[in-house]
């Protein structure tokens, strides 16, 4: 018998001993609230959750193994497909890890463009989460407003990257191509466009009493719990810890930019919601500053056609939309990685769900699950 089955049996037996009969509710892999193919095996006591066991692997695509079978450059498109909503950050981590190992120079202009596109991507990712989260809570309308805003980001990024979702824009030593004046103007216009929209969301959604009541005190994940499970990103910042890779392990040109790390101490679903909403505002600030500071110059440095990394072990972490994403690459000197290890934030953020959801009502647990902002391919890799 597997450990999880034994634990489930033990939970059932304990419940029966206390006079609480339980049943198993299979949530997913095709359930409207799991946004993809996450499966939760819920041991329910009435509408209360006795135990929630996440079952992952339904969309496992062996990204790490694939990395061992292709050249350094060939693995690049894979990285944008791990967390499809936050492709820029993932490519950034991989590209920067390779650059660190190969000691490649990145032109300043490229670093600024990376910051601008990454922050645009963060906003678009948060907007998808905002819409989908409200959908989980039974509010349909915000989804379409959020997608309307996101559409503008996708159009912008499509202009320079050629893709709308799985961008493969960052290249070793720079970018795939340079940004034009129209993109920069468009980005500036977008910042001006989104600010009043965020104010509107605050007025219509954040201050809605039904909405707040559904989230206040629901799904408390405190700093201690986050530490034990390695949760990062808005989940950790929602627990009051000001940990942000952009500040903790600065990369690109983030040290030159002025932005706050929004935190909320309560650790409930509302705190995580507020953190993400404020992060969008901070991202707008970052984009604005980067647009002011972006220098002229080359967008890519000289990189050898066949890239061979010196033997060694290199890590690089970025702050993705869902938390700390780290790439660890091990090279044995060939043009093919010896090992690619991906540390994805959704996996750790999901792990705390089982402990934190114990004793919650089904509806509250799903609100909690939505507030973790999970992307299932990011869990399964």
């Amino acid at each position: 018998m597997s450990t999880s089955a034994a634990l489930a049996d033990a939970a059932r037996a304990a419940a029966r001993a206390e006079g609480r009969e339980t049943f198993v509710l299979n949530l997913g892999p095709q359930h409207p609230a799991t946004h993809g193919v996450l499966r939760l095996k819920l041991t329910m006591d009435g509408e209360y959750i006795a135990r929630a066991e996440p079952v992952c692997g339904y969309i496992h695509r062996m990204h790490e193994k694939m990395g061992e079978n292709r050249t350094w450059a060939q693995f690049l498109p894979n990285t944008s497909r791990i967390d499809y909503l936050s492709a820029m950050h993932y490519t950034h981590a991989y590209v920067a890890a390779v650059e660190r190992a190969a000691q490649l120079e990145v032109p300043r202009r490229a670093e600024f463009v990376r910051v601008i596109t990454s922050e645009l991507n963060r906003i678009s990712s948060h907007l998808v989460w905002f819409g989908a989260f409200l959908l989980d809570l039974g509010g349909f309308t915000p989804l379409l407003y959020a997608f309307d805003d996101r559409e503008k980001i996708l159009d912008l990024l499509e202009r320079i990257t050629g893709a709308r979702l799985t961008y493969c824009y960052y290249r070793f030593g720079g970018l795939y191509n340079d940004v034009d004046a129209e993109f920069l103007r468009g980005a500036r216009d977008f910042v001006r466009y989104l600010r009043p929209r965020l104010d509107m969301y605050r007025e219509l959604v954040t201050e809605n009493i039904i909405f707040r009541k559904r989230l206040e005190g629901i799904g408390v994940a405190d700093a201690e719990l986050c530490r034990r499970y390695g949760a990062t990103g808005p989940v950790l910042r929602g627990a009051g810890v000001a940990y942000d890779v952009r500040r903790a392990e600065p990369y690109a040109v983030y040290p030159e930019l002025d932005f706050k790390i929004p935190t909320h101490p309560r650790g409930d679903s509302l705190a995580r919601y507020l953190v993400r909403m404020e992060e969008m505002e901070q991202s707008l600030r970052i984009i604005e500053q980067a647009l002011d500071l972006i220098p002229e110059g080359p967008f890519r440095s000289k990189v050898p056609k066949v890239l061979k990394l010196p033997p060694g072990d290199t890590c690089f972490a970025v702050e993705a939309a869902r938390g700390r994403f780290m790439v660890r690459i091990v090279s044995d000197g060939r043009d093919i990685p010896y090992r690619v290890k991906l540390r994805t934030p959704s996996f750790s953020n999901l792990s705390l769900f089982e402990e934190a959801s114990r004793g919650m009502l089904l509806a509250d647990a799903l609100a909690f699950l939505g507030s973790l902002d999970l992307v299932i391919p990011d869990i399964d890799r």
Binding site: I210, R214, L361
Partner: protein
């Protein structure tokens, strides 16, 4: 009206069926168009002009689908539930006063009948959920029962308050008493009870909860319970539940119109007629649609707390206040 009784009966049965059918079909269209407008998209446009034939296309699709009874389900109850959900809504149309002479069967206990049949709705959802043998459906059924029990009480307290003011259960008579301008409507009868608008709001909230509409759509709660009690229903079985939801909204809003908003009475005292009734009815229905696409769903215990801790005390309070005022202030 001087039609012989059998013709009269046939006319009203056909009329009520056509009215319910048309409303159920076209309220779906209104809901979809309305939702689309709230969400800045066009809504159905392909089938017919402005998508007006969409409900017919939907009905044909649903009718052509196989009715699947899941293995292990109670086949009889499973098939019975859609009939049980539709019948009481239709029955209530017999007493709804559309106009001064436009009531299928004016009854001295019309209001009682409407409220009584209104309560059967929950039985049907319970039957459907129970008979489906689906865990989501059973959770949904259990929720619906406790929700409807909780909201029946403030609803009835409000109805009793109204009864004390009007002194009759005859819906037509209640409307007749509100003749002569909007200040004579029950909702504005502040000299009888200064809290009348509050009772109307309570009635409206209970109506949303009784018809399982958002933000109280615990029965369906698609992001939690897939489709709740209707998860296992395919084809027209689901279609009937869907129609019944709209039929119940029509009944509920019609009752609210007759009880509080003066029914067919014109707000200016002249030119009363069935047009006013329909106008008020559809304004209320639009509000129901509007609320659905504006608010997120409440928590289940939040919903019960709202009823037991807020609505019931308030409606009890207005009941007490009304009786005191009636006893001492007006002879």
């Amino acid at each position: 009206m001087t039609l012989p009784e059998p013709y009269r009966l046939a006319a009203f049965v056909l009329g009520a069926l056509a009215f319910v059918g048309l409303n159920a079909a076209y309220l779906v269209w209104v809901e979809r168009k309305g939702a689309a407008r709230f969400q800045r998209r066009p809504g159905p446009t392909e089938v017919g002009p402005e998508g007006l034939l969409q409900p017919i296309a939907d009905a044909i699709k649903l009718l052509s689908k196989q009715v699947i009874v899941p293995p292990g389900a109670d086949a009889l109850l499973f098939r019975l539930a859609p009939a049980v959900v539709m019948a009481p809504a239709l029955m209530t149309f017999a007493v709804l006063p559309f106009g001064a002479h436009l009531t299928a069967r004016p009854m001295s206990v019309g209001l009682l009948l409407a409220v009584a049949f209104g309560s059967i709705n929950v039985m049907a959802i319970l039957l459907g959920g129970w008979a489906s043998r689906n865990k989501y459906a059973i959770i949904s059924a259990a929720r619906v029962v406790s929700q409807n029990v909780a909201y029946e009480i403030p609803l009835l307290l409000v109805v009793i308050t109204l009864l004390m003011i009007t002194g009759t259960l005859d819906l037509s008579e209640i409307v007749r008493q509100q003749a002569g301008g909007f200040w004579r409507w029950n909702v504005f009868k502040l000299w009888v009870n200064p809290l009348m608008p509050v009772t109307f709001v309570i009635f409206f909230i209970c109506l949303l909860a009784e018809t399982n509409r958002a933000p109280f759509d615990m029965a369906e709660a698609e992001s939690e319970l897939v489709a709740g009690a209707f998860t296992e229903y395919a084809g027209m079985g689901f279609g009937v539940f869907f129609m019944a939801e709209y039929a119940n909204i029509v009944v509920g809003c019609a009752l609210a119109t007759a009880l509080f908003l003066g029914g067919w009475q014109s707000p200016f005292g002249i030119g009363s007629g069935v047009g006013w009734f329909l106008l008020k009815l559809y304004l209320l229905i639009f509000t129901v649609v509007w609320i659905r696409w504006t608010f997120p769903r409440t928590q289940f215990y939040g919903l019960l707390n709202l009823s037991w801790k807020i609505l019931i005390p308030i409606s009890l309070g207005t009941l007490g206040l009304t009786s005191v005022l009636l006893k001492f202030i007006r002879p």
